[in-house]
Homo-oligomer: 339 residues x 2
DNA sequence: CTGAAAGCGCTTACAG
DNA sequence: CTGAAAGCGCTTACAG
């Protein structure tokens, strides 16, 4: 509650004065990583720095070195556990590589124009991980033009280096799982088609079903978002159909949970009456009343590879896109269907 | 993919040279907020800045001004929607007040010592919002000693300015709701008692029940965490009791969901066989198979008040602690109990 | 209004 | 090893 009287901030000049050396000597003594030494001056400087709890001004150091060791991250929001988990992976890896991260939630901004990176650019981040790209996004081109290294993470773009899960494969895995269980009348919940994850999962699924001789009727593709409420609305729509499908691929775990909950209200038991597959295998999936079969994405890993790729770019190393493998985790929501 | 040839970065010096004026004139012309003007030089500078997509180096500006306009935030993690939502509220308000935020996830750090704020201090944040404090936390004292303004948000501490929901009241609301429905045999799921939210909710609840003449047996207080899995474990434990309670206060929505799911597996239907109350009213609460009665916390509001309070502190204004009111949202999980 | 100078707190070649 | 100087990109009192 009480605020210490704002005493003069401790700078290297303070330490220099008190030890009686030149400021450049202080700077050298405190250089990270610290070398083992028995130099008395160095030791004296370090112990005084500890005592006064000196923290060097990163602002000044960045300015002088021309390197911020800062990575910018743009996310749509952090309340979606998919984005939060990926960002956690990014931050953890960035820390271990000696970088800090700065995150921008585009949900908190007025518009999604390239301007959403401006505050990051002003902070002179060395590169940007774009986790919130969408169809028609101008940001990547704008960064390319300015020579700022960037990587798309989670979602892909048409002409940009991306670190993502192979969502086409994920969709196919879901299709194969259902096809192998004899499902031919299936529906797909298609989340926001302006982002690659939604599009690819649906496409991979349709392709996978086709490979098994099943053509999914366009009328059985239901548009939705990435959340619970839209899953419930989708269930509502499906309940109005003349005939229920025997299986549904939801492209997203929260959406799947919404479907499951709404169906149950209507007396349709997922697993028994209807097979259901989610996507990402977030924590809740395995804990739902009927444990949810889901295509697991290695999200933490995704974030950490995103950082590694970006740092390669920053350091001028050659790198390529990264595509991580999803895998399907079968659970009761697809296993107890009678057929 | 291709990286633009890293052309010379555009600085104010670049603009000055091209327009043929002194750099200080450029600085003045680009000062925010921009004044309307018809000064030709100013207009020329601004249009060149736009053309070259000049973004002033905030690092340099911060150093010179001695103000970073940066707020640090420490959170335990961001995968918990409670913390993510609060942080979103913080970031939104900070933006609208002209500040940026920098977040530290303590889950990504080796230890929780006061050192978790060091990178924020090195970045010269003007103040810190501590969202992850716990019993015995040394960080607040350490910041006080250094004269760095800070506010506890969400969780409270013993001697620190905090912006929090009145969790004692929240616990009491839950107790009153249950007592009014005739429950006398109740259990409490007590999350991590090293954080104030857990302690206060339990204490308020016990007090509220006592006010209605109900003494909760210590054996009916079950320790747990803030997540689904620990709710399921708690349900497991309760299912082993000789007699089930008629109502449970879970202190957390995810924990409540875990209880609900595990009970259902065991044939115990929440709402019908057992009343259940969660806390925070996160999105999932209303969407659960049995909609969950929950004590709603205004988390976005909490974050935004946290920022306002911190900025008051930074600007040397007098402020006091903020306590926001929770309110109970009754749903089926407590309404259909037969009594 | 504009220019010239000083300085924010560091780091780093360059001498000694 | 240490000191002295220059400079990173800004901003801001001070002159003119």
């Amino acid at each position: 509650m009480e605020k210490a009287s704002a005493s003069e901030p401790v700078t290297m000049a303070t330490l220099a004065r008190q030890v009686g050396v030149h400021i450049s000597t202080v700077s050298r003594a405190l250089q990270e990583p610290r070398q083992e030494t028995s130099n008395r001056t160095t030791l004296k400087i370090r112990s005084l720095a500890d005592e006064l709890k000196f923290q060097p001004d990163a602002t000044a150091s960045r300015l002088r070195k021309g390197r911020s060791r800062l990575i910018g991250v743009t996310v749509p929001n952090l309340t979606d556990p998919v984005h939060a988990t990926t960002y956690e992976g990014i931050d953890r890896e960035a820390l271990s590589r000696g970088y800090s991260t700065m995150v921008i939630m585009s949900a908190n901004l007025e518009d999604l124009s390239p301007a959403r990176a401006n505050s990051l650019i002003r902070s002179r981040v060395e590169g940007i991980i774009i986790q919130d790209t969408f169809e028609g996004d101008q940001l990547p081109a704008s960064l390319r033009e300015r020579g700022i290294p960037y990587v798309l993470c989670l979602r892909k773009g048409d002409h940009d280096l991306s670190v993502a899960v192979d969502d086409l494969l994920g969709g196919r895995l879901a299709a194969e799982h259902l096809a192998a269980r004899g499902h031919t009348d299936v529906a797909v919940i298609s989340p926001d088609s302006s982002v690659s994850t939604g599009r690819d999962r649906v496409e991979g699924f349709l392709e996978g079903m086709r490979a098994h001789g099943v053509q999914v009727d366009a009328a059985r593709i239901v548009p939705a978002g990435f959340d619970l409420a839209s899953g419930q609305r989708a269930a509502e729509a499906i309940l109005g159909w003349a005939k229920l499908p025997t299986a549904i691929f939801a492209c997203n775990d929260l959406t799947a949970a919404g479907l499951m909950f709404r169906f149950r209200e209507a007396g349709v038991e997922v697993g028994r009456d209807l097979a259901l597959i989610g996507y990402n295998d977030i924590e809740i999936a395995r804990h739902l009343p009927v444990p949810l079969t889901s295509v697991a994405s290695p999200l933490q890993e995704l974030g950490s590879q995103g950082v590694d790729t970006l740092i390669d770019l920053i350091e001028g190393k050659t790198t390529g896109p990264v595509s991580l493998m999803p895998h399907l985790i079968p659970r009761a929501s697809t296993l107890s269907w009678a057929g």
